[in-house]
Symmetry: C2
Subunit: 377 residues, 2 copies
Amino acid sequence: MMLHTLLISISLGLIAFQADGSEPASSNVPKAAYPRILNDGSVTFRLKAPEAKQVTLQPGGGDNGLGKKAIPMERGPDGNWSATVPKPVPGFHYYWFVVDGAIVNDPGSEAFFGWGRACSGVEIPEPGVDFHAFRDVPHGEVRAAWFRSKVTSQPRRVMIYTPPGYDQSTEKYPVLYLQHGAGEDERGWTAQGRANFILDNLIAAGKSRPMIVVMSNGYATRAGQAEKPFDFAGFEAVLIEELVPWIDGHYRTVADRDHRALAGLSMGGMQAIKIGLAHLDTFASIGAFSAPVPGKFETKTANGGVFADPAKFNGRVRLFWVGAGTGEGFIDGMKTMHEALEKARIKHVYFESPGTSHEWLTWRRSLHDFVPKLFRQ
Amino acid sequence: MMLHTLLISISLGLIAFQADGSEPASSNVPKAAYPRILNDGSVTFRLKAPEAKQVTLQPGGGDNGLGKKAIPMERGPDGNWSATVPKPVPGFHYYWFVVDGAIVNDPGSEAFFGWGRACSGVEIPEPGVDFHAFRDVPHGEVRAAWFRSKVTSQPRRVMIYTPPGYDQSTEKYPVLYLQHGAGEDERGWTAQGRANFILDNLIAAGKSRPMIVVMSNGYATRAGQAEKPFDFAGFEAVLIEELVPWIDGHYRTVADRDHRALAGLSMGGMQAIKIGLAHLDTFASIGAFSAPVPGKFETKTANGGVFADPAKFNGRVRLFWVGAGTGEGFIDGMKTMHEALEKARIKHVYFESPGTSHEWLTWRRSLHDFVPKLFRQ
């Protein structure tokens, strides 16, 4: 009886393909017809809420590619509420509905951990662009592994990308430690970011050296202590004292600073700058994607003076990469940093993602630019 | 600014620990205070929906351990609606809210793919029982891998448990193919079922032989064909023609029938019986957990007559395992099958999970009983 009920519930009103050429977003669960990408790149959202008084569509984030404001939805005679966002910026955008004051995920969307919870997300395709798509190339694995942290006293799950052929090879690989943003977790870079497919495609094209990518949770609080937001001391201890040695002990890594990088997006970019530059004996390459730069950036004094001697910095840091989307607020800080670095003749890469906001297409493009520059001889 | 907003949103009203000894369910997202397990094992649900007219709690399934019926929630003066379920059956139970007619996930719950979509779930602990918990033993990995299916023409993700020490060893391992239920997917057995921790704990205790567990999506439609519910022909082709050879080609397996098992829960149990018994050249061991048995089960005629010659069956099948929870409807079919097998002197194992329903504690216990009986010399 349960199976029968289920069968009916997944058959009703979920017609995936229509004659107008529109199609379900690739971020949908199987058979969900909405959100729906229209021929011109617009997207229609729909939610069944027959008794609701008011339903709005809430883009997740102040400068998300779906728009800055809540979007009113209109009730149809069948109890379905809908809204069409005309030609949003391509990329992956978090969103949710608000039904009579309640925050509501879209039953049609796969769940993506963001904003501190399981969140809806919609993939707006960029025509002709598939660097982050599944292609018919050799694929790496994304492995979940667990260890008990002594720092936090809690179990921690870590996601590890191993490149195609890892199991069949005896080679040792360089390692990129890659961090998510605030409110996200260790699943973000693969579920939302498609980091594994980006790496698969770059490696298949000979554009990137095969590498291991370690994606861990950027939140960590020392056992018995209160959590201080954006302090990162707990995570720094986990990363340096526990995770790096654990990865080197369990995977075939080239275990030296030249073959280790630390990068991240938003909060993860702050961590890459703060922790990476404080541990240049561990990491020789650093990437900050859309990282907020708190206060005024001065090369003489920033990060304990690590930039104060440009020749020393240039000799020691193999890659220092900063970038953001041109449609997001955090680009100002990244650009200011870039200009100060340029002026001080500090070697670095500055990247702009045209037209994109503080969202995952910016970070996919960032990763796609960053990775080929890593671990070059 | 976005970070700041986020920070506020995750600080407000989310006090995790209270002096009364109640605590957040382990299935919650970090920092979510509700659902909340009370001292006596009862569970309180809460949802903020200040403008809603009616909110109900819907247990996911006709005989779910939370009860059979929708549970009305009461509005508090702060716009929070709440309901307490007194002493539900322990286990993992799907649920959702209905807010003015809209199906709404709980923002406090992690998302679990069930009922054809991302679904809320609550873990009701069973006092003193930790066979499925993270314990301080060596841990295996859960790997996501991808291949393109020629049968469906689509990419497929498959989840693969490799036992502790797999990378450091040169040993070959037997393989259990383990299927989810209707409306679920390849993530179910680890996210809801904790299969990896169950295996880790059994292996650490010396109760189970180390093995590889392959968890793949039980839905598959031949390219260009319509999907027939509960037909399984597409999945049978994917499993036999593609997945088994692909696993044997990419992992260190003992690639023979004696070292291959097929098991599953509910719909996956139907698949194990139907496909497994039709391919005894591929699988020597079969497990059906809470499988619906359609029609009347007659050993003379069932499954193309495979049971008709008990001596032949007993010689060929190394393990035939059927079981269910005593609190679920499907136990009748499993029991009828057991009695018919018993009468015909067909070797099998029959298992009852005391007090549990058609939910994941039944299937965790089933796996925990089934796995140690596999691949014995």
